[in-house]
Symmetry: C2
Subunit: 218 residues, 2 copies
Amino acid sequence: MATITLYGHNLSSPTKMVLSCLEEKQLDYEIVIVDLSAGAQKEPQYLALNPFGLIPTIQDGDLTLFESRAMIRYLAKKYKGQGTELLGKTVLEQAVVDQWCEVEGQSFNSPASTIVAQTIFVPMRGGTTDEAAVEVNVEKLKKVLDIYEERLSKSKYLAGDFFSLADLQHLPSTDNLVNTCGKGDLILSRKHVKAWWEDISSRPAWKKVKKVTEKGPK
Amino acid sequence: MATITLYGHNLSSPTKMVLSCLEEKQLDYEIVIVDLSAGAQKEPQYLALNPFGLIPTIQDGDLTLFESRAMIRYLAKKYKGQGTELLGKTVLEQAVVDQWCEVEGQSFNSPASTIVAQTIFVPMRGGTTDEAAVEVNVEKLKKVLDIYEERLSKSKYLAGDFFSLADLQHLPSTDNLVNTCGKGDLILSRKHVKAWWEDISSRPAWKKVKKVTEKGPK
C-alpha cells in the first residue's frame, strides 16, 4: 500500500481529526507540516491541492482530497476491514452515524471552535479574547450538550453501542475545551457526556495523536 | 415499499433539499407540515422525533432521522438503483462527492443562509434586515463562488461530470438567492456557475419541488 500524505499542522483540530482516523485504521502515513505562520496555506503550490487554502489536505495515490470530514469518511470506506470499523454495518446504522456526524458539523463545531479560537489562537497571535463571543458560544454549546447528555443516557456512543466517525469527529475540539480552554466543566458536569468523553479520549489511537501533535512544531 | 414521511415546511431550505432528493429517487412520500408559526417544532411530540427541534425529520419504516444532509445520503444509499444515482460509482467518486457536500455544509451554507434569513425571514416576522450582516456574508459568498467558478470551468458538476448530492444540496438556497433575495448577480455574473445553476435548476425533480412548495402553506 502506498503511503498516505497528510498536509496539516499540529495545532489544527481538523488535522487531528484526520490523524485520529489514520491511527484508528492503522494506516501508514507521512505528515507534511504546512507553515501557517509563514502563510504557506495561501501559496500557489498549496492552493493547487486545496483551493480554499485551508488545512488539512490528504493525498492517497491519485486522489487529492480536502474537507476533513470527507477525508475520514473516505478513509473509513476505502480501508474497510482494516483497523477499527467506523461507519456502521448496515445502511440504517450508517444513517445514524451520518446523522451525528452532521450534528457535529452543523451544531457542535461552530460554538466549540469559536471558543477554542477565542481562548487559544487569538491570544497566541497577540490579540485579545472576545469574552462576549465566548459567553454566547458557551451558552449555545450547553444547549447542544444537554441533548448529547440525553442521547448518551440511552446509548454508549452517539450513533449506538459502537465507536464511530460521529464520536471521532468530536475528539480534537473537546480535548481543547477540557485541557486547554478551561471549559472542562461543560463536559465533566454532565454525567453521560463525561463517561463518553473519558471513554473516547482514552482510545490508544487518540493518545498517539496527542503524543505526535504535542511534540510537533507550533 | 412503505411510504416515507417527511416532517417539514414549504419555506424551509433543508425541507426542500430532502424533497429534491425524494423526487430524484422517485420515491413515494407524504409531507406532514410542522406549523412553525405555532412553535410546533418545540412541542414534546416533535422533540421526541428530533431533539434539536429543527425541521425536517423523516421516518422510513423503523428509522427516524434528523439532519437533512444525513437524510439525503441515506435515501441515495438505501434506494440505490432507483431514480437518479446521486453518490458516485466508485469509492474515489464518492469521496469527491462527499468533499463538495462538506464544502456546501461548511463554506457555502453559512453565508448563503444568513443572506436568505436576513432578506426574507427577518422582514417576514416584522423585523428589520441587518444590512451590514448581509454585506459581510455577500463578500464571504463571493470568495466561495470564485472557487466554484474555477472548479466548474473544469467539470460540469461539482464532483465531476455527473449530477450528485453535492449539486443537489445547493438548490434551495441558490434558488432563494436568485429568485427571492435579489442576489442573483452572485450566481449569474460567473459564467460557469451560471451555466451550472441553469442546468441543475431545470431538472424535473427540482421543478416539481418548486411547484409543490409554492402552493403550500406559508
